[in-house]
Symmetry: C2
């Protein structure tokens, strides 16, 4: 297993991007995260870690890395844009509408469906977004106790 330091360096080198502190910071935060993050999330964590990066730089870094295919970008039902490493198999989100807890769903079951759709519509499908929402067990319990 290679260290985060190395991984970030490699990603930047491969994509002919300058190796700057801001990009290191952003990449490390995304690597460490178990869930997908918003620009605001990353901005806040960078600040917490004592490695502040401007919000506009975060946005620019995220969009550069998405274009290069390093990150996967998806707009959630809360209207915010979330990013995750696309080197992981991509993952969908299950969001609690009460507490906003997010679970990432490990396997994406949509490949077969995509193939079928392509046949039907003639489209060349190159992506999808899927998100579930509901109530997590903790919130369900809380609601029950109140009643």
């Amino acid at each position: 297993m290679i260290s985060g330091e190395t991984m970030a360096n490699d990603i930047l080198k491969i994509n002919a991007l300058k190796n700057t502190r801001s990009r290191q910071t952003v990449l490390h935060i995304i690597e460490d995260a178990a869930v997908s993050l918003t620009a605001e999330d990353i901005y806040a964590k960078a600040f917490q870690n004592g490695e502040p990066v401007t919000l506009s730089t975060v946005y620019r870094t995220l969009s550069t890395l998405s274009e290069k295919g390093v990150l996967l970008k998806s707009i959630s039902q809360d209207g915010k844009t979330y990013y995750q490493l696309s080197s992981h198999q991509h993952k969908h989100r299950l969001v609690c509408t009460a507490c906003n807890e997010i679970i990432l769903i490990e396997n994406c079951p949509l490949e077969s469906l995509e193939a079928e759709l392509e046949k039907k519509t003639g489209y060349t499908i190159n992506g999808h977004s899927l998100e579930f929402c509901g109530i997590c067990p903790k919130c369900a319990k809380k609601a029950k106790n109140k009643a």
Copy 2:
């Protein structure tokens, strides 16, 4: 089959909402549309039809009707919010990334998946959003001709 006029009236009456010209206009536009629409779409069509409604009224109407469960709201990967009648079985979108043509997908294949997820996570799942993107046959052809 009941007329649009009647349907809009019924929807408003059932939900204890005042029967105003703006709401009639918005509801008729949504009923007539084959695809889901944004607030801006509805605003523009209302204007075209010579029945102008303010954008803020459109937004307020859409959010009222979504809360009442009359409309289904979903935020697309383009960052805009689309609305459709929820009396129809809900439909997902297949969007061409080149020309933005939208096809609605007739059947939603996610029920069984939801059940499985509920078992695994303990969540009570009450909704999902799903969207595919790709290139429509026309755009694929155009791209080919250029090359």
